[in-house]
Amino acid sequence: MSLESPAALWGLASLALLAIFSLWRQAAGRATVPSLLLWKRIPERNPPIRALRRPKARWELLLQALAVAAAVLALAGPFVASEIPRPRRVALVLDTSARLRQGGRIDRIREEALRLYDGPLSGDRRSVFAAAPSPRRLDRAGLAALGPVDEHVDLEPLLAAARQAADHVLLLSDRAPAGVDARLFGSEGGNVGITALSVGGGEIFARIANHGAVRDVALVVRIDGRETAERISLPAGGERAWSRKADLGGAESVALELETGDGFPLDDRAGAVRLGTAEATATVTGSRDPDVLRALGAVEGVKLRSEGEALVSVGVDAVPGPASFRVRIHTPLGASPGSPVVLRHPLTAGLESRASELGRVGELPPEARGGDPLIAVGERRVAVLRGTELHVCVDLDPARGWPAFPSFPIFWANVVDFARKGAGEFAVLRTGRPFALPPGSAVAAASEPGAIWSLSDSGDFLAHTAGDYLVRRAGGERRLPVGLLDARESDTAGETRSPGWDPARPEGREPEPARLGGWAAGAALGALLLAWLLERRRD
């Protein structure tokens, strides 16, 4: 055994202090006398120095001396030399971004990680971090089963976790942030891919990136399966916007596909789909009030149906049918005194100054009062919007003033427009981006095996792999395409580089001496505790 700081042994001199101190504070011995009668009469005096007793070999004193000696030893830093190499703390961070699918690099990264794990790092404390799909720490089995995800992986959280867990962090990717030691697996460049897509307002808009030389590519556009193609020219190393006007009034889906012939087809396709119905259809449940039917029918483009899924469904004192937007009209039980106030909202556009023409209104029933108020009488809520449901408490009886509301068709025109903008828009889903599904719909399954997706607590759908997913909703199932549209993944080139740090070299694995300071400190504490207990017991 050796000492890191032998000078600390001078602290053993404190044992002499302990002896002096114990002399000074000798505990009074106990003597039972038949009576204190005579002893009380004897005057007390301070004991002379020569009368101090020699410290007895008491256990307390022995333990105290032991505690002091152990504490001094702990300060001296005792250690025993060892020949066993010290394990290093090494973390491997694996990038599983979608672009690494190109050229099978993700498999090479996994194989390299396994080689390091089982080989040069086998004597070290290894940690493996990857985001497949979310940032996590992997064990050996998890590493062996690691696969790619079709999204961009943010490396910063992984690197931060790895830096906390290890002294050496090695990134396996195709590019590395500054200051990070990495084994990089580059690939051929020149990828062409779709990086953005939006559909709406009678237009299809896309951004197409080209990481290679100037070239022409064929772009296939499919609207509800009807296919057209055109050739577009792409500038070198840049991005171009592409758009096309189209009649999308009745269309349910739009898809774009590039014919690039590159080794990374994942970003060559993108799609958009309507989750609601495209047609401006309406249904009425409950009392089929002729004025309501007439007003709805007066809105341009609205087709009235008797049943089935619709864009708008109105329930007059009844639950509305399945629809992207539902309006429930409650007949008031009594008139609310006061003048109604119409608040500004797309649903009340053009009605703000005509509140006095609303006719007889009342307060909504308690179960329907939650949501954003649209019309109120004092504190009472007459109309509220809750998600995709509108509740209105207004009397439709003509004898009580309903026909006196001349702007009623304007209100229904607002409702239809609002429903179209909400559920009727085209949705473009990207991997790694949460998407709020319409109320009443849920993802049933992925159309391809091995797909990775999840639902958040709030019901948002998040796909980690590209492909088609089936969404179940009131009107039936609908195919929901999810494509890779992250611009950062379209550049597949990266670079090839070996790490600056060679895990096979022995640096950092110097044998570590077995330090005994902790044990000595523990012994000191234990002895001190025992001494204290003994002293308490004796008292």
Partner: protein, 249 residues
């Protein structure tokens, strides 16, 4: 058995000494002022109604023509009460005190068998200790006399009394020294103090004064007083010291 055969025989040769005549309920060997019984002739007196006819001295009647009855000295047993201190302060010398008490009970039982010996044998340290002097007879108290209230009990009654002051060697010469917590065996009261040669010498002086105070107090009240160390052989105490002190004869 507290004593061996030889010691018992020596005890049988002894008896408790009293200065005054005694009076008790039982007939015994002690002369009393009472007349009657079958003891030695004391005097004649005139016959009175109720006297026993057999007490009439017919010879005197023949000579004097008057009825006289003979009076004899009545011998009665000595009422003896033995009180052995059982308070906690007696702990180091209780065995000695109990054996001493038993020896005295054995001596007393020769005159008048009683349960005193059995009572002494049953005594346990910590039992209540309340010496009460008999109306007449002898009270023997064996104690360390640390309880000053004993003076009151000893001062009461007209009976003869004897006090045997027993002290242990540790009381006579405290063996301890240094910084000590002295604990009163009787009260549990404690006091931390230093005890050195000076303190021990002062203690011995005060103890001697304490014993002398008891001795003179007993002397003033015609109480036999004997001080002895519990380390003294019991036979020596009984055969020598108690006889010298006039407790035994």
């Amino acid at each position: 058995m507290l004593f061996d055969e030889a010691f018992v025989r020596k005890l049988e040769a002894l008896r408790l000494a009293v200065r005054r005549s005694v009076s008790g309920r039982r007939a015994g060997e002690r002369p009393t002022r009472k007349r009657g019984g079958s003891g030695d002739f004391v005097a004649h007196r005139s016959y009175a109604q109720g006297d026993e006819f057999r007490a009439i001295d017919w010879n005197l009647y023949g000579r004097l023509g008057q009825l006289y009855v003979k009076e004899f000295a009545r011998e009665e047993a000595l009422p003896v009460r033995l009180a052995v201190d059982t308070t906690p302060s007696m702990a180091p010398k209780f065995d000695f005190a109990r054996r001493l008490g038993a020896a005295l009970a054995l001596v007393a039982s020769q005159e008048s068998p009683s349960g005193a010996l059995a009572e002494i044998e049953r005594l346990r340290l910590g039992a209540p200790f309340l010496p009460v002097a008999p109306a007449r007879g002898l009270l023997v108290v064996v104690s360390d006399l640390w309880d000053e209230s004993l003076r009151g009990a000893l001062a009461e009654g007209r009976s003869e009394k004897a006090v045997i002051h027993v002290l242990s060697p540790e009381e006579l010469a405290p063996p301890f020294s240094g910084k000590l917590r002295l604990v009163d065996a009787e009260t549990g009261e404690s006091r931390v103090r230093f005890v050195g040669d000076e303190e021990r010498a002062e203690y011995r002086r005060l103890l001697a004064a304490h014993c002398e105070d008891w001795r003179s107090w007993c002397f003033d009240r015609e109480i036999n007083y004997l001080r002895c160390a519990s380390s003294t052989p019991l036979e020596e105490v009984v055969q020598v010291y108690l006889r010298e002190a006039g407790v035994l004869e």
